[in-house]
């Protein structure tokens, strides 16, 4: 008690030379131990379960049917994302335009496609042939027809899957892009305009490159989400990874092992997708 009444300068030298005992985080150690025990328990019960059937997993992991489905899943993801991006830019620009009709139409689009379940949209496109029996090109209000074909042959399961995923993605991508454009400071547009840049040039050279910073992280998430959403097209037999493996377990009833095969591949793909995203974030994130 006596030392605390001493003037500060008198006790300073001794305190500086004292060693410090770091704070012990006993709570953290305990929490970590509990988590490890739980994880170990889950893995042990999972691994020792004979129904997991490792030989089946191994047999189907690189089977042609699996790899074909995997390929369909990959290109569905890529093409649906491309449709989503291109359409998303268009819808975002419409939504920000001075034309009230374009603004209204784009809002309606986003409202419909974000407001209904993707699964419903996939089934709708899958059964398009039941809604429009024939697809034809001709002159409206006349009987002149240049081309006509049954819708179900024109829009097969894979095309329907692509339409459903792509059109749905446009709605989400457009909102991400719109928010990114709006996040760019108004002064940037004014400075570009004051230099004599046209609206299109200003958007392309000044606004969009800066908007990329806030667009890329959520768009990367969209790609991973899309990868997993392609599994939904199994309801219309879209020949994707899950569809093909479902066909197999419908025959041999090895449901869980084949779902593990699918999950392993989805994990591999989504892990690979995170690599370009961090590169892009560095590329466009260096602005400030």
């Amino acid at each position: 008690m006596a030392s605390s009444t001493l003037p500060l300068r008198d006790r300073a030298p001794s305190e500086a030379s004292e060693s410090v005992v770091p704070l012990r985080h006993y709570g953290r150690h305990a929490g970590g131990a509990v988590a490890l025990v739980c994880l170990g328990g889950v893995l042990w019960s999972f691994g020792k379960n004979p129904n997991l059937d490792w030989p089946t997993i191994g047999a189907y992991l690189f089977k042609d049917l699996t790899l074909q489905g995997l390929w369909t899943t990959v290109w569905l993801t890529v093409v649906a994302m491309a449709i989503g991006l291109a359409g998303g830019v268009l819808v975002a620009v419409m939504r920000l335009s001075g034309n009230p009709v374009l603004r209204g139409v784009s809002s309606l689009y986003v409202w419909v496609f974000r407001g209904t379940p993707l699964l419903v949209q996939i089934i709708f496109w899958g059964f398009l042939g039941a809604f429009y029996k024939n697809t034809m090109i001709g002159i409206p209000f006349t009987h002149i027809t240049f081309y006509s074909t049954p819708t179900s042959t024109l829009v097969d399961a894979t095309t329907a899957a692509l339409l459903a995923l792509g059109l749905n993605e446009i709605a989400y991508a457009s909102e991400i892009i719109r928010a990114g454009i709006q996040a760019v400071d108004r002064g940037q547009t004014e400075a570009a305009q004051a230099l004599g840049m046209t609206p299109v040039l200003t958007m392309r050279r000044i606004v969009l490159p800066q908007a990329m910073r806030s667009i890329i992280p959520p768009l990367g998430n969209e790609v991973v989400t899309m990868l997993k959403s392609t599994a939904l097209v199994s309801v219309i037999a879209g020949h994707d990874l899950l569809s093909n493996l479902q066909d197999v377990y419908a025959q041999n009833y090895k449901v869980i092992p084949l779902l593990v095969v699918a999950s392993l591949w989805y994990l591999v793909l989504s892990s690979l997708l995170s690599l370009p995203q961090s590169w892009l974030e560095r590329r466009f994130g260096g602005a400030r």
Partner: protein, 269 residues
């Protein structure tokens, strides 16, 4: 006759050239607020015109009408004989397309209070952007020109710096160089030193002083009374959306005739 029109004040200065900016009865309203209520102003070639006035007096709005960042609701502004935002044909005024407005802005440089440099480009790229993309100047030529302009504003060693790596004063000097790269015949300054730390104001004013000495036509919205007194040919005092008083700084700043000017100067000096 409460206000002395600037054109009569400037006409006494015979060394000045023909009119560069002529504004007549400029009106602008935002909803129910009338920001400009008939601004008349003439700025001659080679003249430095400082706009003073309390905040909300319409100085910045007027400046932004000159290069049509704001669209005036009434009256007319012409720059170098060309009406801003319109084309006269068969006795009527036809509004210009955005592309045509953009083309007209090439010759009018503007410097903003918040600099508004492009953060994703380096200092040199900021300066090169408009000459290359708008005027079609070659990249090498534009790069050399950018280097000379950076040298002129005292930042020769900052060509490859991003705006975020520069101080406020340095950013504003790059912004001036960026505007000069388009070879403007008129420069608009919208409170160029208001966002700067006090010790950085001088370096920006020095660059502006140099521009004035080179004969650049300038309209400067500012609160720097000292700068106006020293550099301006004409000082214009705005209040309530109209020109209250204008004339050489020696008159307006030293012996103002209007009570409102006197009251404003008493507060800021």
């Amino acid at each position: 006759m409460s206000a002395v029109s600037s054109s009569s004040a400037v006409s006494e200065m015979s060394e000045m050239g023909e009119p560069m900016v002529v504004a007549e009865g400029v009106h602008k309203r935002y909803g129910s607020v009338e920001v400009l209520r008939g601004v008349d102003l003439t700025v001659r070639r080679g003249e430095v015109c400082c706009l003073l006035g309390p905040s909300g007096s319409g100085k910045s709005t007027f400046l932004r009408c000159v290069n049509r960042l704001e669209r005036a609701d009434g009256g007319s502004i012409s720059v170098d004989g060309e009406p801003v935002g319109f084309r006269r044909r068969h006795g009527r005024r036809h509004e210009l397309r955005e592309k045509e407005v953009a083309a007209a802005r090439r010759d009018i440089g503007m410097v903003f209070q918040r600099f508004n440099l492009f953060p994703h480009l380096t200092a040199a790229e900021n300066i090169m952007e408009a000459p290359v993309r708008v005027k079609g100047v070659g990249r090498d030529e534009a790069r050399q020109r950018a280097a000379r302009l950076l040298d002129r504003v005292g930042l020769a060693d900052k060509a490859d710096s991003r705006p975020a790596q520069l101080s406020g004063g340095q950013q504003q000097r790059v912004a001036i160089a960026r505007a000069l790269a388009m070879d403007p015949k008129l420069m608009l300054f919208d409170e160029p030193t208001s966002a700067l730390d006090p010790e950085l104001v001088g370096e920006v004013l020095d660059v502006m002083r140099g521009l004035a000495e080179d004969g650049m036509t300038m309209i400067v919205v500012t609160h720097e009374i000292g700068f106006a007194r020293e550099v301006a040919d004409t000082t214009v005092f705005l209040d309530g959306g109209v020109v209250v008083e204008s004339g050489p700084p020696a008159e307006v700043l030293t012996a103002p005739r209007q009570e409102r000017t006197r009251a404003f100067l008493a507060k800021v000096l």
